[in-house]
Symmetry: C2
Subunit: 394 residues, 2 copies
């Protein structure tokens, strides 16, 4: 099969982007990626847009068509890919397939969400549209609620405490301060998290045991990647960051139907597929971006992906191993925790972070000379997970 190389990356700021609409932010990230790849936009023959909420949040459809016209890419092929909060990595995967097939040479993948224009409960309700309509949604299930229940089970099974959860948040907010694109640029402390009064405003429970700082913010933002054939990449002379492996696995739609709800089977399977395709094992990963929509998920994914043995991540959080300066940095970007989670954009943002890390272009949050990076993009409540392995080859 044909090798696929990531030759350009682009990000908007993540945060409240009040002056821009969805097409504006997708355009901005795309143009930055085109610029970074040093390609003539006319070379792009297909575009994949990752987005989950244009219909519900923005009352729009067919945004891929709007995008290609807006940034002068006509007559390139253009489609939107949706896979809930894993839309971003799904779009990257489909971009990889497009180039690997031999039919397309140069593909733009851009993911983003404009979700701060809805207020109050409506962002949470929007995300809950991915749950089962009769078995979950009608009973008022939300993603934070699911994550809270999951956290209780996982903490009990593997001996995690609220302080362990807080360590994820502290680490990722520390990393986010070093990432100018992150939404929340603020240091938080164990005292601030654990000892604060018991209200949401003061970081009390959102869904026990998860507090405000265990949950990612609602964020506007977009991220873009240019993928191309090895032949074209060599001509461009960009660092050779190859998409060496991908994996995607689905699990039961409802959390309640799983034999063991603490077993993130789709994470396990997607990562294993990606490792196998890349010809590596989890031990070969130098840096990882995990989908910490809730702090408990960074812990559970770090273990389900095989990066750490079950129950062992708490040690890594304490001993500094997963810090930017550690031996296996996790979420050096600040993760969803600090960057925020524009749902359709997150998987592409994770890929952008890993590509920058492998190029040595991550700036203040650069980790030490990584060769292989992993992203885990978590759709549904783990019912559709996409993993990507990227490798620096020259």
């Amino acid at each position: 099969v044909r090798k696929v190389v990531a030759v350009g990356v682009g990000l908007t700021d993540f945060g409240r982007l009040e002056d821009d609409d969805l097409i504006d932010i997708l355009s901005s990230a795309s143009l930055k990626a085109i610029d970074d790849a040093c390609i003539d936009p006319k070379m792009i023959d297909a575009v994949y847009v990752a987005n989950m909420g244009a219909g519900i949040l923005n009352h729009r459809t067919a945004i891929a068509s709007a995008l290609v016209d807006n940034i002068g890419l006509l007559p390139a092929a253009a489609d939107t890919v949706e896979n809930g909060p894993a839309s971003g990595a799904s779009a990257v995967k489909n971009g990889v397939l497009a180039v690997a097939s031999g039919y397309y040479n140069c593909v733009l993948v851009v993911g983003g969400e404009k979700m701060r224009n809805v207020t109050g409960w409506r962002a949470t309700d929007f995300v809950a549209t991915l749950t089962h309509p009769y078995a979950e949604y009608v009973y008022g299930v939300t993603l934070p609620g699911m994550a809270g229940m999951f956290a209780r089970l996982y903490m009990k099974k593997y001996g995690y405490t609220e302080k362990d959860l807080a360590r994820v948040a502290i680490k990722n907010h520390n990393n986010g301060i070093k990432n100018p694109y992150a939404h929340v640029q603020m240091q938080i402390t164990m005292e601030g998290i654990i000892d604060s009064p018991d209200s949401v405003v003061n970081n009390g429970p959102v869904a026990t045991p998860l507090r405000l700082y265990d949950c990612c913010p609602v964020t506007d933002g977009a991220a873009a990647v240019i993928l191309c054939s090895e032949e074209l990449a060599k001509k461009l002379g960009k660092p050779m960051v190859v998409v060496a492996g991908f994996g995607q696995a689905t699990d039961t739609h409802t959390l309640a139907e799983r034999d063991d709800p603490t077993d993130l089977k789709a994470v396990r399977m997607a990562c294993q597929q990606a490792y196998d395709m890349a010809g590596i094992t989890a031990k070969d990963v130098d840096v990882a971006e995990l989908h910490d929509a809730f702090t408990i998920l960074e812990i559970a994914e770090a273990e389900a992906s095989g990066l750490f043995e079950p129950g062992e991540y708490k040690k890594a959080l304490k001993n500094g191993e997963v810090e930017i300066t550690g031996s296996l940095p996790v979420n050096p970007s600040g993760g969803l925790k600090a960057c925020g989670h524009p749902v359709g954009g997150t998987g592409v943002r994770q890929a952008v972070e890993i590509i920058k890390q492998l190029r040595g272009e991550a700036g203040a949050h650069q980790v030490k000379e990584p060769k292989i990076g992993l992203t885990v993009n978590f759709g549904g409540f783990g019912n559709n997970v996409v993993a990507l392995v990227m490798r620096r080859e020259s």
Copy 2:
């Protein structure tokens, strides 16, 4: 590149499917296609769902994840592809890329829409979400309105009359009577169309010059196709219907920005790409499914695709050439006109029709021994068009 074969097809009834939700109808079409392909469902390693309106119409997202669980395809990869009314063919195209890439062997593509649960103007408003939000939508533009303006220009330029439009509707409704899956199973006459009182209920103008019977109905329905590698197809022993070519082209988002609004440039380009890939010319096409969401579009697409010279389709409508019994049957299924237009499903339904025709399994609307078939799936108002060429090889 790797050859991709269509080995299974499935359709739900098209119409008012009141007892079923979106996942039910997607499941039903999928299971029929799996059954038709005579494969073990466990052989399916990736699923593409084509859908445009789950968010707006059904307040749901991540439907691909729901589908794979519902029909026992876990842990297959699953994504939704959206490209407005051309979502169906876009999903087929991405299924082809997935198999052609060598990473997947057997892919289910299923498209559908559940859109009769919204009432009155809301279905028309939903479709209008594909228009430009500031240049079109805010001014109350609708797809019928655009088609009406387009029809006036096209009729004037090429000398078409309301009777020519009516001939498209009469032909397609005649064909639809022969297709048990079609939504509207009713013969209509020139007198009934042209001489009826001037109101929508009595087939008066929807958007002058287009009357009720110039417009496709609002329809629930789903269609599915199984695509696989040549190697697997040979083992299955199914007729070898190959996706020999595809094309996709985008044009200006707004109709008003085109140099010549009567020139369906994206149709021209998508078809030419598909012909080139298949190594054929328009003259080699034996049967075509065109996107007659409005009667004028069958005419304009028949000419933009190169099947007929500009202005010449009126003759073909009169002399029987494009009837099921003619030399180049167009929309033997009844088209969108009679089948209806569950927007995300239409492109897959068109593919299903061509596959059945090439297999000789179209029943009462079978055309005579076609070898090569074309589908044109028209997204936006011609701003994102996908064409597929399929060939019977043995």
